[in-house]
């Protein structure tokens, strides 16, 4: 199979309330950044003719939410498809546009403001069926609470271990000029923070965040026109678990394991523990960091707690951006991970740069208690 590369990435600073710009303004900023880096144009034989976007109608409170940003993403008189899942899935889709031969260059802008609606939990409550689960008040927060309890029991995770995850996230976030929540914490701050949704404490949860991201992808034939440093997408996989929480083994990582297996297979990775140098995973809540690391095969099953104590996340350069825990909007949590991974692979991550990064894994999840997972492998 021919290859597809990410040639350039741009990110808008993540903040808790970007009240002073609307989506069109944020997307114009990241577009100009990508154009400065690559000189790409829209239209014509050599330009971008198809765009993959990502946004969510509920978060935007706008039917066909991509229609509002059409002008700012170059879609006027061009093709544009909206990814309606978390943005990382758009990487797979954009890949297919190029591997199929339909396009050679694709522009991929994405946006989400969690601050626009009065409550992101009211929105995620709407993901549940109107007959049973929605009436119970189930949303992605309390679904996560149930999963956290199941996982903490299985892997014997302690409060101190969870606190370590959060403290470390803030330490790295402080080195990332684009991160949202950089306030430094001590273990005690986290362990004593008020209960948000038992066993998830307020400081275990990712802060409400607004942001936007853009990427330029190109087929192997064209990649070097836009960058000296293309990052190849070598693996992609996604997978859907069942819907009712009672039908699932919440601590089993059923869907994540399958998604990761697909991605590793495509990338030819037989032993991820040897191959993977860096991980960006979507840890909306602290317990998810060790849980998803198990699902990605980087930590033994049920051993997430020990993994944290043994500096496992540091070994794999997990979330040097601060990760989801430092704040990212839900719909593009994975895409911000791609931005970080690409910068790391290109050696452009500044103060949070890791050494010898050749192979990165980026992860995202959509749905309550990780019902749907996506895994991407990026390499130099």
């Amino acid at each position: 199979m021919k290859r597809v590369a990410i040639c350039a990435v741009a990110q808008h600073k993540i903040e808790s309330d970007i009240w002073y710009k609307r989506f069109q303004g944020m997307l114009l900023d990241v577009l100009e950044d990508i154009q400065r880096q690559t000189g790409f144009v829209f239209g014509g034989e050599k330009g971008v003719n198809n765009i993959v976007s990502c946004s969510d109608d509920f978060f935007d409170a706008r039917t066909i939410s991509n229609n509002g940003v059409c002008d700012a993403i170059g879609a006027h008189y061009r093709g544009e498809d909206k990814m309606a899942q978390e943005g990382l899935n758009g990487i797979g889709y954009a890949m297919s546009l190029m591997l199929s031969g339909h396009d050679e260059v694709v522009y991929f802008p994405a946006h989400c403001k969690e601050s626009q609606a009065e409550s992101r939990n009211v929105i995620t409550n709407q993901a549940y069926d109107p007959f049973y689960c929605r009436c119970l008040g189930l949303d992605f927060l309390n679904a996560a609470g149930l999963q956290a309890r199941a996982y903490m029991n299985k892997a014997k995770i302690t409060e101190e271990q969870l606190a370590k995850v959060v403290v470390r996230a803030r330490q790295w976030a402080a080195r990332n000029p684009y991160a949202n929540e950089t306030r430094q914490l001590e273990l005690g701050d986290v362990m004593n923070s008020p209960m948000l949704c038992d066993p998830i404490r307020t400081l275990h949860a990712y802060p409400v965040s607004d942001g936007a991201v853009a990427l330029l992808l190109a087929s192997e034939k064209r990649a070097y026109e836009f960058t000296d440093n293309p990052v190849w997408i070598t693996g992609f996989g996604n997978c859907m678990d069942s819907y009712f929480l009672g039908d699932r083994d919440l601590a089993s990582n059923f869907a994540l394991k399958r998604a990761a297996a697909q991605a590793y297979k495509m990338a030819g990775i037989k032993n991820p523990r040897k191959k993977v140098d860096l991980v960006e995973l979507m840890d909306c809540y602290a317990y998810q960091q060790p849980l998803w690391l198990e699902g990605l095969g980087l930590c033994d099953e049920g051993m997430g707690g020990k993994f944290i104590d043994d500096y496992g996340p540091a070994q794999y350069n997990v979330n040097l951006s601060g990760g989801m825990l430092a704040g990212r909007p839900l719909m593009i949590g994975g895409l911000y991970g791609v931005v970080e991974a690409v910068l790391q692979l290109q050696g452009k991550a500044g103060e949070h740069q890791a050494a010898d990064v050749n192979c990165a894994v980026v992860h995202s999840t959509t749905g309550g208690a990780g019902q749907f997972h996506t895994v991407v492998v990026l390499e130099r």
Partner: protein
């Protein structure tokens, strides 16, 4: 009298007084003419005024009414009982509405309890219908460009943004020119008058998704070429109701401002014919 679906047209009108719900017709003042044609038909005028009801059978021609229904007896009875889909009958020309259709869709269903033919057994399984309204408060950002537009309205001014590349104007201002995909940070003042490029006379109003309110019809939406803007750009806004029947494409219009302006959409009341 000829029967359809186990009942006749007379029964529907005879039972109107007992089915009437005066508490549902506050501020209603309408006359409804019924011209039920063919076998089993007849003419009636129903008047609802000051929360009272009057049902009169008419011989001869129907007087002018707020709305007049014309249908054959079978369609009318079937529609009333719910055995015939009135929407379908309406589209197929079997059920005709002359006048304000919202009286039939909005007022009549509330004004009367449902008519049941004698001996009409309730269905073994009745559908339970859950109606819920999801309301999620939003704070929408204007950004600097829309912000400039609203500030302008407060000052009774219209601003457009202009593309530095092709010179095209955006009304209201937008961050970027869609054609050139280039930042449009230059603002120019346009209007205040404009020319009507096209227009829509709206008879069927739907609820505003943000407020749930339904506007009274008919009203006119104007598509305007504002003075000073490029001819490919179009501002749509309301027409002063007083001009509803005079307005034509090509006419010149001027804005009518709200006396109290806060920098929002209500600052501009509507446009009216500039004569």
């Amino acid at each position: 009298m000829t029967e359809y679906f186990g009942t006749n047209v007379e029964a529907i009108f005879d039972t109107m007084p007992e089915r009437f719900r005066p508490d549902q017709v506050k501020d209603v003042d309408v006359t409804i003419g019924y011209d039920i044609t063919g076998e089993g038909g007849g003419k009636w005028v129903v008047t609802i005024q000051q929360e009272t009801l009057k049902v009169e059978k008419i011989s001869g021609d129907l007087p002018p009414c707020s709305v007049t229904i014309t249908a054959d007896a079978q369609t009318f009875i079937g529609g009333t009982l719910g055995k015939i889909d009135l929407g379908t009958a309406l589209s197929a020309g079997k059920f005709k509405v002359n006048g304000d259709i919202s009286i039939m869709t909005g007022i009549v269903p509330k004004a009367f309890k449902k008519f049941k033919a004698a001996g009409d057994e309730p269905k073994a399984e009745e559908l339970i219908s859950l109606k819920t309204s999801t309301s999620i408060d939003q704070r929408f950002a204007t950004g600097p460009h829309m912000g400039k537009w609203f500030k302008g309205l407060k000052e009774k001014k219209f601003y457009a943004s202009r593309c530095p590349s092709c010179g095209r104007t955006q009304v209201p201002p937008r961050e970027v020119c869609a054609e050139c995909v280039v930042r449009s940070d230059e603002f120019i003042e346009i209007g205040p008058k404009g020319t009507v490029a096209n227009m829509d006379v709206v008879y069927y109003a739907s609820p505003d998704p943000l407020t749930g309110k339904v506007r009274s019809t008919p009203y006119v939406t104007l598509y305007l070429w504002m003075d000073g803007s490029t001819p490919g750009e179009c501002l749509s806004f309301d027409l002063n109701p007083k001009d509803t029947h005079r307005i034509k494409r090509g006419m010149r219009v001027r804005p009518v401002w709200n006396e109290v302006r806060t920098g929002g959409i209500d600052d501009l009341l509507y446009f009216e014919i500039d004569d």
